[in-house]
Amino acid sequence: MADKERADPLGDLSDFATPRPLVRPRPPVEQVRKVAEANGFLARTPPARAEPASPVTRSTRFKPMRQRTKRNIQLNLKVEPDTLARFTALADREGWMLAETLVQLLDAYDAQRKENKR
């Protein structure tokens, strides 16, 4: 016998050839899960956790200072209580930071001296 081709036992499969989108409706996912769990078919991967709307990072938790200064050296003074009271009262009245108040006083002093020398 020569090498005669045998007929394909699976025959004509053209009836399967057309792809089509799955028309079968999906059963409710939650019910599928309940029945699966009741049968001991459990999720091995943890449920997807919803991402927070805006991730909490250092830059959003702590708003950057609105006013950046070059003040980076500490000045500690021992003063009388009255002096402190006058100093902070002036700062409050003018709406100045304490450091700013000191600069204002020094500027005022310099200006006064210049005035007096004239």
Binding site: P9, F16, A17, P21, L22, N39, L42, R44, T45
Partner: protein, 224 residues
């Protein structure tokens, strides 16, 4: 277009072998086939990296329970057959896949351990039928059986399945070196030569008989 899911919570029962045999036999006949490798061991994906994969056969891996239904839909839009190979565990993803399956194949070896897990699979299918409000067709496929003899345990399991009116493939996937060679050399059964695996002709005939039964079952389902 048909979605065929291979599933059993028992590992090593022949799901991947049966799935790849079906996929390659169909793709070799010019049909567009997508295999969804839902097993994290990625055995089908690994096989598909070897040479000899028929044109028209695509493998999709990296699926999880959140994506599997979308993956099946996407595959169904472009393929004649969507073949889903599940992992051999009782995983929730199995329930999602069978909920949209046209046909579920449950491979089972002739052992009590396999039969028990196969029965768990049947019970899940039965319960999911109530959720899906439709019949989910399935059948047991005996795998790795001896081509020569039928051990008593296998005979007993067949008897019990018959008692429970559980559908069983008439063809058994016998224990063939050629099936292992397919995963070792890559490609299809017909791409192997007789030096690579003994009993190749018998394996090809066995695989075709099994694939023929799958086709016949799907045709009957379409008519019904």
């Amino acid at each position: 277009m048909s979605v065929v899911v291979f599933s059993s919570p028992k590992g090593g029962c022949g799901k991947t072998t049966a799935a790849v045999l079906l996929a390659t036999e169909l793709a070799e006949r010019g049909l567009a086939v997508v295999v969804i490798d839902a097993d994290p061991n990625r055995n089908v994906a690994e096989w598909s990296k070897l040479p000899g994969v028929p044109a028209g056969l695509t493998v999709v891996s990296k699926v999880d329970k959140h994506t599997i239904l979308d993956d099946i839909d996407a595959a169904a839009a472009k393929a004649s057959f969507v073949i889903v190979d599940m992992e051999g565990t009782a995983d929730l993803m199995v329930a999602h896949a069978i909920s949209v399956a046209d046909f579920v194949v449950i491979p089972v070896q002739g052992s009590q351990l396999d039969a028990k897990q196969a029965w768990r699979q049947v019970k899940l299918i039965k319960d999911q039928e109530r959720v899906a409000r439709r019949r989910i067709p399935y059948a047991m496929l005996f795998t790795r059986t001896s081509p020569a003899i039928q051990p008593r345990t296998l005979g007993h399991i067949k008897f019990r399945f018959a008692e429970g009116e559980i559908p069983v493939f008439a063809t058994q996937l016998t224990d063939r070196e050629a099936y292992r060679a397919m995963f070792s050399f890559g490609g299809t059964l017909t791409g192997l030569d007789s030096k690579q695996a003994s009993g190749l002709d018998q394996a090809i005939a066995n695989a075709r008989a099994y694939v023929g039964e799958v086709i016949e079952t799907l045709r009957q389902l379409t008519v019904a």
